[in-house]
């Protein structure tokens, strides 16, 4: 398992060398894009992290969790994940903020943190993606795909919490 990533890298680098691609320049160009991308992300991250911090310290988040956790509890989702699950469809940076808080608070190897990681890794920012993808296009009837995705996301979240108990 641990060999997969090194093998991918060695294969790509060797092949590129054979193809006489300027490896150093290409790799650096890729990193430049990564840098630009990270920088473009930072303002959203900062704003959302500030929101999370305020929400957390004001005690409102505890209130919301208290309201909704019985519902989530019925589905087998730990109450600590309530906020993560709620914010994930809307914002990647927001859910990332909650994920890193959960990892910090409970420890990376705790049940809650592992659960959170699996939920985070197996779902996507549905509404954000639909906004980005279909901005300015004429595609209609988006309700069906969106509902399908949301149902599947809920199922996989419940499944994630179940699997993490066993594995």
């Amino acid at each position: 398992m641990a060999l997969i990533i090194p093998v991918i890298f060695i294969a790509v680098f060797t092949f590129s060398a054979i193809k006489k691609v300027n490896i150093y320049e290409s790799f650096t160009d890729g990193i430049t894009e990564a840098f630009k991308f990270t920088v473009s992300l930072l303002p959203c991250l900062a704003a959302v992290f500030m929101m999370c911090e305020l929400f957390e310290r004001s005690g409102l988040s505890d209130l919301l969790t208290k309201w909704l956790s019985p519902v989530f509890g019925l589905l087998g989702i730990p109450e600590e994940l309530t906020k993560l699950v709620l914010i994930k469809p809307f914002s990647g940076s927001g859910s990332l903020a909650y994920l890193s808080r959960i990892i910090e608070a409970y420890g990376a190897d705790s049940y809650v943190a592992r659960c959170a990681c699996v939920c985070f890794g197996s779902s996507e920012t549905v509404f954000y993606i639909s906004a980005v993808y279909f901005a300015g296009l004429k595609v209609k009837k988006l309700a069906l795909p969106i509902v399908c995705v949301l149902v599947a996301t809920l199922v996989s979240t419940i499944l994630a919490c179940l699997i993490c108990r066993i594995m």
């Binding site: 929101m51 911090e53 699996v118 009837k141 149902v151």
Partner: protein
């Protein structure tokens, strides 16, 4: 996002101003600090994988992959457009490597190409696949866990794989079924 952001921000500010006004500014600063830390972690991951994907692009690997995937793309996405297929292939490869961020530009490109074809079925299907996240390597999560001192950062690999496969298959199945029903 704007509506949620505004609502949460204002209600939290009011609540905090009443309960603990001295915590107000520290809370904001703390948020900014965590944002910078997270961005750094993310940059290290993106740098590695986007560097590699640039190499794939320049050495023709991604074009080769796209060509190999063309028959599959024709069947699944019902498209024959070469540029669209290449973007589709890159999008799905990035997704599989857990690079949601890097995958997005390719998806947008693919959707624009498909628009020329008038292929709204493929556009929606691509959305369903992307929105349920298909990934083999949850790179972001593994990096975050490793950064937090996990003993076995990659041990969520298998559970993630099962969940993401189930959600993608389920959503695609529902979508295809619904698409047939409502036609």
């Amino acid at each position: 996002m704007n509506v949620i952001f505004t609502a949460v921000f204002i209600s939290s500010m009011v609540a905090l101003a009443i309960c603990a006004p001295q915590d107000f500014l520290p809370a904001l600063m703390q948020g900014g600090e965590s944002a910078v830390k997270t961005a750094l972690t993310l940059f290290t991951i993106y740098a590695v994988w986007m560097g590699l994907s640039k190499l794939c692009e320049r050495s023709g690997i991604s074009r080769g992959v796209a060509r190999a995937l063309r028959p599959a793309a024709r069947k699944i996405f019902r498209t024959d457009d070469e540029a669209a297929t290449e973007s589709l292939a890159m999008n799905i490869s990035c997704n599989l490597l857990g690079l949601g961020g890097a995958a997005t530009p390719y998806a947008v490109k693919a959707i624009a190409e498909l628009e020329k074809e008038g292929n709204s079925f493929a556009q929606k299907l691509l959305f369903v696949i992307n929105a349920t996240s298909i990934q083999i390597l949850p790179t972001t999560v593994i990096a975050l866990r490793a950064g937090a001192g996990s003993a076995a950062a990659a041990d969520i690999f298998l559970p993630s794989l099962i969940c993401t496969a189930v959600s993608t298959l389920l959503a695609t199945g529902l979508f295809l079924a619904g698409n047939k029903l409502w036609r």
